[in-house]
Structure formats: C-alpha cells, structure tokens
C-alpha cells in the first residue's frame, strides 16, 4: 500500500492521464484510480477533490455541469490544451525522477552485494 505522502506529487498526473481519454466526474475518477492501482493505493475523496480543483484553478482542466444517467446534476471535468502539454511535461519529469532515484537505489544495492 503506497502512503498518501509518497504519491502526493503525482495525484495530478493520475487525474490528467485519466482525463486524456475523455471527460469524467469525481466519483468515476476515484473509482478508476482505485481500480487501476489495485490494492496498492486507495485514493481518499478529499485528495481527489482537491487535486481536481487545483488543476481547474491552474486551467489545466475545465469543468462543466452535466447530468448523470439517473438525472442527478454532476460536475464533469475535461482536460484542456495546456493540461495535455502539462501532462507530457510531468511524464518526462517522472521518467527522469525515476531514473535518478533508480540510479541511487541500484548503486546502493550493487554496492552492498560483494
């Protein structure tokens, strides 16, 4: 189980990656994050909501009022052009972050084994 602290900087990336495939609403996003993460990460509702609102205020996503199939009013979110660009940027950042961290970890492990 990944702690909320460990993944904090990347919740925005998870949300953007899901919105790339099409508009969605908060509960569905939470469901998909939990489904894709399996038992490794269960997102809290407040975490998701604050991520979505943060993205909205930086204009990386836009929201519009919609209606659920059962007729309930619902806020849908759609990724913006700058959101798509930001996602690519974050993906590159993640790849290089991962490479650097891996380099330290591998070195430590190789150094420890004779």
């Amino acid at each position: 189980m990944i702690s909320a602290d460990a993944i904090r900087g990347y919740v925005d990336v998870l949300v953007l990656s899901l919105l790339r495939t099409g508009p969605s609403y908060a509960y569905e996003l939470a469901q998909r994050i939990t489904a894709i993460s399996g038992d490794d990460y269960a997102i809290k509702q407040t975490t998701l909501y604050s991520a979505v609102k943060r993205l909205e205020s930086s204009e990386l996503v836009t929201s519009y009022a919609g209606v659920s199939p059962s007729g309930k009013p619902r806020t849908y979110y759609r990724i913006s052009e700058s959101g798509l660009a930001h996602f690519d940027l974050k993906v590159d950042e993640w790849r290089s972050t991962k490479t650097v961290v891996d380099r330290f970890i591998n070195e430590a492990i190789e150094g420890a084994t004779p």
Partner: protein, 354 residues
C-alpha cells in the same frame, strides 16, 4: 444516507458557508452517495456501506487550500475565536479511532448475553431463600425450615457466584476499552456518525424489547397481589404469597432478559459520542433521567403503600405483608433502569439524525 449528510454537515458547519465551500460540500456529497450506492450494490449492509464511505472520505484539511479556509483549519495560525469552536478546558485526550470503535462494539455485542445472564441470575438469586423455608413450613417439602433456609442460601450463593464469574469473563473482554467507557477520549466525527448509524440500525428491536420489558415489570406484582387477596384463607396462603414474590422476581428477570441483549448498540453510541469535550451533555442527561424516575416514584410509592395497607387490613396479614417493601424496592430499581432507557430513547428522538 442521512448519516452521510449529517457527517458532512458536522465537518463543514464550522466554516463560513461561502459559495465555494457549499459547492465542495455538494460535490463531495455526490461522490459519497455514488460510493454508497456502489457498496450497497456490492452487497454491503447499510451500516457497512456508511462505514466504508466515511473511511474513504479523507480529511478536510486537504481541501482547505482550494477552499481558502486553511486559516480556520489550523488553530495555531488562526486568530482565537472566529469559526473555531472554543477550546475545551478539560485535558485533551487522543481521539477515538474507527478501528477502536469497531472492536469496542464487537466486544459489547459478543458479551451481551453473558452480561444479561449475570444480571438475570442476580435478580433470581433470592428466590430460593424466600420460597423454600415457607414451602417447608407448609409441609409441601419434606425438609425442616432450617434445611430450607440452608438450601436457599446455597442457591443464592451459587447463582451469585455464576453471575460474578460471567461478569468477570465479560469484563476481561471489555477491559481494553475503559478509556472509551470512562470518556477519556476526544470525540471523532467519523466515529460519532458510525456509532449513531449503528444505534439507529438496532433501535427498532431495542424499543420493542423495552416495551415488552416494561409491560412485564408493570404486570410483575399482579400474581402476588392476587394470591395475597384471593388465597389468604387457604391453608397454603403463605406459600402462595411467597410463590407470588418468586413470580415478581421471575417477571422482573424476564423483562431484563428481554431488554438487555438489545441495548448494546445504544450503549456503544452513548459512550462513543460523549468524549471528554462533552461534559455538559452528560450533566443534562442525568438531570433528565432524574426527572423521569422522580415522576414514576411520585405515584409508585403511594401506590405501594396503598397496596400494603389494603392487603394488611383486608387480609389481616400484618405478619406477611412486609414482604411488599423489599420486593417493591427491587422492582423500583428495575423501573428506574427502564426509565433511564426510555429517557435515552427520548433524547435520541430529540436529536434525530437529520
């Protein structure tokens, strides 16, 4: 579902109701309702679904920056007062956790029959010492008075010993939760919502049990009064009066046996919602309880006196009618306990789950 709304209300009510805050509340509520519906569709009980939804809520501090309420949520940086509730003067205890509350409720549910059996045995324990000597004197049992008393005492001690053993075994299981039963914790809105939904879920059988129990307690003295008035002339009159006393004990015990296994959820909710910060409401509760018991006492004791005088004069039974007082006292104890239960029900009705 109401519990979810109540939970969100309790989380958000402390802050100025800005449009942004109300929007957040509405959207979080929609998320929680969707989650609730999907848990129900997966086969969860209402109670389990509410518990899971509330556990997945997270915490409001995380949303604070996007709502612009961070200053209100961090008491250290906030100016005193504002939207923050006044700080409790009592020493702060660590808040109760949901896991702790679950284990406490499990322990209460697991031990409820043992606890009930112990109390029923205590109430029944004097039956032997009351009835056997009289049965012996009337010649119904081929033993002497003294043997009757002796067997009666043995009976009392054995029942009391079994009762004590049962209580010790239950207290071993509930001992880890003394901090909860003694209110040495801060209430936690998640636990409060969960405990209230638990109590609400078990309320209907509890009220039904309470009705049956109160009916039994009110009817309890009828056989005694009937035997005393109608069979006074019979050669076995004394014996029948004693049987009446034993029946009073048996009916009181039956009432307790019906009621007590259904009160555990209410007990859990009362203990979990009254943390160290809520001393005021506890004082209110005892005041209310006093009032209903004193109303019962106002007609109970005069009625008992009237029965005593009527029985003694009409039946010329001054030698035996005294038993009405110890029996009456035991019965009053039971009625007072029932009154307390009624009062807690009325309190629950006064503060319904929105």
């Amino acid at each position: 579902m109401n519990v979810i709304v109540a939970y969100l209300d309790s989380m958000f009510n402390a802050y100025p109701q800005t449009p942004r805050l109300l929007e957040a509340k509405a959207e979080l509520q929609a998320m929680m309702e969707d989650a609730y519906a999907s848990f129900i569709a997966q086969g969860d009980s209402e109670n389990e679904a509410v518990g899971r939804v509330i556990r997945d809520f997270g915490n409001l501090e995380e949303v604070a920056p996007v709502l612009g309420i961070s200053a209100d949520l961090t008491p250290d940086s906030a100016p005193a007062g504002a939207a923050q509730a006044p700080a409790p003067t009592a020493p702060r205890h660590p808040p109760v956790t949901l896991d702790e509350a679950h284990s406490y409720a499990d322990a209460q549910e697991r031990t409820r029959f043992r606890m009930t059996a112990a109390i029923v045995l205590f109430v029944l324990s004097p039956a032997g010492i009351v009835s056997l000597p009289v049965a012996a004197k009337s010649g119904l049992l081929a033993i002497t008075d003294e043997a009757g008393i002796f067997i009666g005492i043995i009976f009392l001690l054995v029942l009391a010993a079994i009762g004590v053993m049962l209580l010790i075994s239950t207290s071993r299981e509930t001992a880890p939760f003394t901090r909860l039963t003694e209110s040495h914790f801060s209430p936690n809105p998640v636990v409060t919502s969960w405990a209230e939904s638990l109590a609400a879920q078990h309320d209907r059988p509890r009220i039904r049990a309470l009705q049956v129990a109160i009916a039994l307690w009110i009817l309890a003295p009828i056989p005694l009064i009937a035997f005393a008035l109608l069979l006074d002339d019979s050669p076995l009159g004394d014996f029948w009066v004693v049987i009446g006393v034993v029946l009073v004990l048996a009916l009181v015990a039956t009432g307790l046996g019906v009621l007590l296994p259904h009160t555990w959820a209410q007990t859990v909710a009362e203990n979990l919602t009254s943390g160290s910060g809520k001393l005021g409401s506890i004082a209110d509760a005892s005041e209310d309880e006093r009032s209903i018991v004193s109303v019962i006492a106002a007609f109970y004791w005069p009625l008992l006196t009237a029965v005593f005088l009527a029985w003694s004069f009409i039946g010329n039974a001054w030698g035996t009618s005294w038993v009405i007082w110890p029996v009456g006292a035991v019965l009053f104890g039971a009625i007072a306990a029932g009154g307390e239960a009624v009062e807690s029900y009325r309190r629950a009705r006064r503060h319904p789950l929105s």
